[in-house]
């Protein structure tokens, strides 16, 4: 072994360790930044190591690729607004998976394009890599399109859809197995790749925009597993480790989300939730919504002892996080205690609300999780629901018949009074009626969250 090989191997080992340390750092906001720097350093080491690889004959393409990629990445990194995180994540899964697929394809091609040979094990790993990579690429792209609103977010369903998909999947796997036995049949290989690309689309088509986060996390884990498979193909440990870590984080997050929405993964994938079919459920709810005028709200807030803000997807769409903080500051100046109740699946991705509020410089010490804040509501004078809906839907708690029955909620209805900021009669992502809006404690303040809040700030200042 030359010294290069040693250097490479150890740079990879180091990188693996640094990646793990990096993720460990994320267990606390204080240590997170340092952790990321470690991970970044690890990545640098790995790249430098790789550049010493003896097989490399020309650097032109490598350098160009690195430069171009860095520029694109930098641009994305700097200018993507926090509210567009879900799309960004989807897109980068597509990239990652695509890279894995391409490497796999070229590995295969360079052997069989020139009468070489691959042993069964490698072929197996390679097949996984390419298939996972391909379907994740197209799947993530479609997810991106739906989230970005480039295509309609509603689920596309048709009769016998699941059967068709299963059939397609079966075929693909069939070809895969055949290829393990007879790796030499090049055309079949490309058929398999093609099918995988198609399957990615079919997989995501029937899933509504609102369920995308779950799907994305799943695609995330696929992308991770694809990298891991690449690791098996090149028998490169750092790839295996990083890929597996990625795969698991995606998997765990999707589980967490499903639990918080209490739905099963299968229901998310094949339930076509949020489609016209289920959207009607729970309609025809009796009762009247009490509209409340801005001044009254202002007074309530101004003279309250404790106020809890409950942000939801609406805050994200309205970009209202900064003005929310302003209102909080104004209230705190008046001696009101302000807390934020954050539901694990408020918004459209895990930790969505936390990031937005952090962006608005809300200290995370005043963000409270479900378990912490629920006991506080009885002692809360005003609970302000800012573009949240499902996460405060009492049906989940009270009505076993409801589709979201059992989903843990923020029990704002236990507060002395509730103010709901929303634009109109719009439903939440679940498409369900929300009894909270008909309760006596609840007052509806219609209008775009941002505007309402801006006016509230002034009103409070003059109250």
């Amino acid at each position: 072994m030359h010294w290069q090989t040693y250097f490479i191997e150890f740079s990879y080992l180091l990188a693996s360790i640094l990646f793990i340390l990096g993720l460990k750092g994320l267990s606390h906001p204080e240590t997170a930044k340092r952790g990321m720097h470690l991970a970044e350093f690890g990545m640098l080491m790995a790249i430098i190591g790789t550049l010493m690889h003896f097989e490399i004959v020309t650097y032109t393409w490598i350098i160009t690729g690195l430069v171009v990629g860095s520029l694109v990445g930098l641009a994305m990194g700097l200018w993507v607004p926090m509210t567009a995180m879900p799309q960004r994540t989807a897109l980068s899964h597509a990239f990652g998976a695509f890279a894995a697929a391409l490497v796999g394809i070229s590995e295969y091609y360079r052997h069989y394009g020139f009468g070489g040979h691959l042993d069964k094990i490698t072929m197996g790993a390679l097949g996984f890599e390419v298939m996972l990579g391909a379907l994740t690429t197209t799947g993530s792209l479609l997810a991106f399109a739906k989230l970005q609103g480039l295509v309609r977010g509603t689920p596309v369903t048709y009769k016998g859809q699941n059967i068709f998909n299963m059939a397609l999947l079966a075929t693909t796997i069939g070809i895969f197995i055949y290829l393990i036995v007879f790796p030499g049949s090049v055309p079949l290989f490309f058929v398999m790749v093609g099918l995988a690309f198609v399957f990615g689309l079919l997989l995501v088509m029937p899933i509504g925009a609102a369920d995308m986060p779950v799907v994305m996390s799943l695609l995330n884990s696929y992308a991770g597993l694809a990298s891991a498979a690449t690791g098996f193909v090149l028998s490169n440990n750092v790839l295996i480790i990083a890929g597996t870590l990625d795969g698991f984080s995606g998997f765990i997050l999707s589980i967490l989300m499903c639990r918080a929405m209490n739905r099963s993964i299968t229901n998310v994938l094949f339930g076509a939730f949020g489609s016209a079919a289920t959207a009607s459920v729970g309609d025809g709810h009796q009762g009247t919504m009490r509209e409340i005028n801005l001044e009254d709200v202002a007074v309530q807030l101004a003279y309250a002892k404790q106020v809890v803000f409950v942000p939801g997807y609406g805050m994200a769409t309205a970009q209202a996080q900064h003005i929310v903080r302003e209102l909080a500051d104004t209230l705190e100046k008046r001696g009101v205690t302000v807390k934020y109740g954050i539901h694990p699946v408020a918004g459209r991705m895990p930790g969505h609300m936390n990031v937005l509020l952090a962006e608005a410089n809300v200290p995370y010490s005043s963000l409270y999780e479900l378990e912490q804040i629920n006991p506080e509501f009885p002692a809360t004078d005003v609970a302000v629901v800012i573009g949240a809906n499902d996460v405060v839907n009492p049906d989940a708690r009270d009505n076993p018949g409801s589709p979201i029955a059992g989903m843990p909620i923020l029990e704002v209805d236990r507060a002395k009074s509730v103010v709901v900021l929303k634009r109109g009669q719009g439903k939440g992502f679940s498409g369900l009626e929300n009894p909270l809006f008909f309760k006596d404690v609840t007052g509806m303040l219609y209008g775009d969250a941002k505007e309402s809040l801006t006016r509230l700030v002034q009103a409070v200042q003059h109250a």
Partner: protein, 107 residues
Amino acid sequence: MSAQTLITALYVFALAAFLGYQVISRVPPLLHTPLMSATNAISGISLVGSIVTAGAHYNTISTILGFTAVVCSTTNVVGGFVITDRMLGMFKRKPGAADKSKDKSRV
């Protein structure tokens, strides 16, 4: 790949899986979004595979594929890490230093 290599690879995989589970499940909801972009960036490690493919002149097609792969992965790595840093820069325990952090969150 020899069966022996496969087996050690499986060991690494199994251990990494456990570790992933342990480490990730300790990340608080507060940091789930940064976690997503971080793992994203890290999985950009497939870059090491792409680089070799792009640099070792196996044949034109491989080189092209490799080059594209390098671009994609690099985008992930750089983009992912930059965004993660940006987000983490925004998380503050106590208020104050608001503006400083705002700058951070933009750079």
